[in-house]
């Protein structure tokens, strides 16, 4: 029985539990003498309580135990593959092949004596059924794959049996507990509360998971490359070693990448902040409601454009345009390269304008109307009011908004991949190509790679560094924004 069917059955039990429990509660309600006893919850809540009790534990058990089971099986495959192939790097390839073989066996319905004796035989049978397998499988894998399949089937049976049992038990328990004074309403409330808490922790737990997985690989990287060389090295030259030759050849200096990242972010902010702020001031203070209701969504539409589109625009249109323009200005010598810090910064700035203006607009409109009125009533003009009262009052919030924007600029990938170039060098000329951390992560991870050499592992170190930088900025931005909020409440 597949997990999908099981879930459907559990839900079916839940629905039955709902109707019977609601029915029973209704019957009790009709019989009770209301002068003596007041029913606590509506039949609806008794029904919901039974539904939740008969479905939630069963489904949770199903998911959790399935995860445990697949972990156990993975461990078994690794252990046995390890006894055949001592080299861990090669073993991880074999593990993948064993997985595929097991899956092919399962799909062909081959168990016990039906399992072919050689890998080649399995591969032929599989390809006849339209399943393709790798060439490099070995015969020892077959009994292992078959054994794994059997173990998995046993696990599945146990788990599904347990889930069904839990579901029925939950339904019966909830049904039997129905009393006039049972606080089913409060119980449902509590379950709702816990599910809400669960939903809100998903993102947080995922973030923790991301950090942990990156941290593991980063530590792996630093065991091969000295952290000092990484953080303070000024040369980025991660020569790809031939597969298997190993060794940490190449230099992994973060500085040129960090400099490029910050430089491009700076150029984009220099462009986006004044434009975005002025747009926000116009929308918040001058625009009539009709214009505002048209312009603001239009501007926010810009934020919805995929950044790769901006990148294409930069590389196809704006980059050549700036190059030709500079050639025309300087009499033939194009001092702006087609891929440059300048081009990437401007295009990223365009992308950031709606972010700046939308966040700042929220902050500006949050300044109480009384401030505006107070200033206008003293005979100040609108722009005096904005400069002397509104912007100072909104400043902390605007700074917070700008920090959030800056962390977007630093983490931005697709625009710089296309528009900034890949040359990792230190330069102060904004018209030359530089590269960023994100570009190098993409470079190092593009292709079919095993994560076992410093050349690929460096991507995790870079990613974690980027994560720490943007996280720090976001935390600081939130701190500032929150501090500002307290002022008017």
């Amino acid at each position: 029985m597949s997990a999908g069917w099981l879930v459907a059955i559990v839900l079916g039990i839940g629905v039955l539990a709902y109707f019977f429990s609601a029915q029973r509660a209704r019957a009790q309600r009709d019989q009770v003498d209301r002068a003596k006893e007041v029913p606590h919850s509506l039949p609806l809540y008794h029904g919901w309580f039974a539904f939740l009790l008969s479905t939630l534990p069963a489904i949770i058990v199903l998911v959790v135990l399935s995860a445990v089971s697949s972990g156990l099986i993975e461990g078994r495959i690794r252990a046995e593959a390890g006894t055949h192939i001592p080299d861990p790097a090669a073993a991880s390839l074999q593990v993948g092949i064993i997985h595929n073989a097991a899956e092919a066996l399962a799909r062909l319905g081959l168990t016990g004596t039906g399992v072919p004796s050689t890998y080649a035989a399995l591969r032929d049978a599989a390809s006849a059924a339209g399943i393709s397998l790798a060439d490099s499988g070995e015969d020892y894998m077959l009994p292992l794959a078959a054994g794994v399949n059997e173990e998995a089937a046993l696990h599945r049976l146990l788990i599904q049996g347990l889930a069904l049992l839990l579901s029925v038990a939950g339904a019966v328990f909830a049904y039997s507990r129905i009393r006039i004074r049972l606080r089913a309403r409060n119980e449902v409330e509590r379950i709702v509360l816990w599910s809400l808490i669960g939903a809100s922790t998903v993102a947080i737990l995922t973030t923790v998971g991301i950090v942990l997985s990156m941290l593991g690989e980063t530590i792996h990287f630093f065991s091969e490359v000295n952290p000092l060389n990484f953080f303070f090295g000024t040369v980025w030259d991660p020569r790809f070693a031939a597969a298997g030759s190993g060794g940490s050849e190449g230099q992994f200096g973060l500085i040129p990448l960090l400099a490029g990242t910050l430089y491009i972010a700076l150029v984009s902010m220099l462009f986006a902040v004044p434009v975005g702020l002025m747009a926000a001031v116009y929308m918040g203070e001058y625009a009539s409601p009709r214009i505002r209701s048209t312009v603001k969504p239009l501007l926010e539409l810009l934020a919805g454009i995929p950044t790769i589109v901006y990148g294409i625009f930069a590389v196809v249109t704006l980059g050549p345009f700036f190059r030709d323009l500079s050639a025309a200005l300087a009499g033939g010598f194009a001092f702006i390269q087609a891929q440059s810090v300048f081009t990437a910064g401007i295009v990223m700035g365009v992308m950031l304008i709606p972010v700046v203006s939308s966040l700042s607009d929220d902050v500006i409109t949050a300044v109480p109307r009384a401030m505006r009125d107070g200033s206008l009533a003293l005979g100040a003009t609108r722009s005096e009011t904005i400069r002397k009262v509104i912007l100072p009052a909104a400043l902390p919030g605007i700074v917070g908004a700008l920090l959030l924007t800056a962390s977007r600029a630093i983490g931005e990938t697709m625009i710089v991949v296309l528009a900034a170039g890949v040359a990792a060098r230190l330069s102060i000329n904004p018209f030359e190509a530089m590269t960023t951390i994100t570009v190098k992560i993409v470079n190092q991870l593009t292709g079919d790679l095993e994560f076992n050499s410093p050349q690929t592992l460096v991507a995790f170190a870079l990613g974690l560094t980027l994560f720490v930088i943007t996280l720090g900025m976001n935390v600081y931005a939130l701190y500032i924004v929150r501090k500002y909020r307290e002022q008017y409440e």
Binding site: P368, A370, D373, L376, A377, L378, G379, T381, V389, A393
Partner: protein
């Protein structure tokens, strides 16, 4: 700009025959399609306190705000009829609204000090209008405005602290100091005491009575006692119409109109 208002302070009692400082003739105000004021005719006597009373939504605040064109900041608001300041139509296209508001200052219902220091709050208007010639001049304006607003003794040692840190009553007096630092001729007050406790209210009422020496004051209030205590003239609004106006003691002791009588005795509103 009447700089002599500060220096000499013509404390002349309102004479019945003096020309009105401000005058509304057939004033109608619309918010979009909705008419909020209907043909209001009202004279504001110079150097006296005029109070506007009436139940909520009767248009008294609307009338007050149209006296310095603060209604302009509300979308869809339109004013018809004529409102004049010293016989100049303030809605005439030749009038600079910024200058008008410097001459007709306003204090709001809720104290709204800027998130700046006490000193900067008061110096805001003079700075914008270039009233002070130098730092000493500005100090003098700030100090005398705070003194006139009865706040000097409480804040003289902490002029650099934020104005938002004061108590509600102090904030409102700071706003009054801020308004008079610009040296307006008319001071509009929109329920200036409604957010304050009785003690702070008493302080402000006393202040209003003193300010009458130098300024023409129009005050909107919900408190009949306050109107009776501080004003020389009272106008009663109801449903967007001016029902009755006259000397305060006449309105309160001997109202001609039945509606006025009902309101001041607490039967409507």
């Amino acid at each position: 700009m009447t700089t002599e208002a500060f220096a000499t302070g013509p404390a002349a009692a309102p004479t019945p025959n003096a020309p009105p400082k401000m005058q509304g003739e057939k004033v109608c105000v619309f918010y979009g399609d909705k008419q909020a004021l209907f043909d209001v005719d009202l004279k504001i006597e110079p150097f006296s306190v005029t109070s506007l009373i009436g139940p909520s939504g009767c248009g008294k605040s609307t009338f007050l705000r149209s006296l310095n064109r603060m209604n302009d900041t509300i979308d869809g608001c339109r004013v018809a009829g004529r409102i004049s300041l010293d016989d100049d139509d303030i809605y005439d296209p030749s009038i600079d609204v910024v200058e008008l508001r410097a001459r007709v200052g306003m204090v709001f219902q809720k104290p709204n000090p800027f998130p700046k220091s006490i000193y900067e709050n008061v110096a805001y208007g003079p700075r914008i209008h270039g009233i002070a010639r130098n730092k000493a001049d500005m100090d003098e304006i700030v100090h005398s405005s705070l003194r006139r607003a009865g706040l000097w003794n409480e804040v003289k040692d902490r002029l650099t602290e934020p104005g938002t840190g004061l108590s509600g009553g102090q904030q409102q007096r700071l706003c009054i100091a801020r308004a008079i630092a610009t040296r307006p001729e008319v001071l509009l007050m929109d329920e200036p005491c409604s957010a304050l406790d009785p003690i702070a209210t008493a302080v402000i009422e006393e202040l209003i009575d003193e300010l009458r020496e130098n300024f023409t004051i129009v005050i909107v209030t919900h408190s009949m006692q306050q109107a009776a205590r501080v004003s020389q003239k009272t106008a009663f609004f109801h449903l967007g119409k001016l029902i009755e106006e006259g000397r305060t003691e006449d309105i309160f002791t001997n109202p001609r109109n039945k509606q006025t009588q009902d309101y001041i005795t607490g039967r409507i509103g």
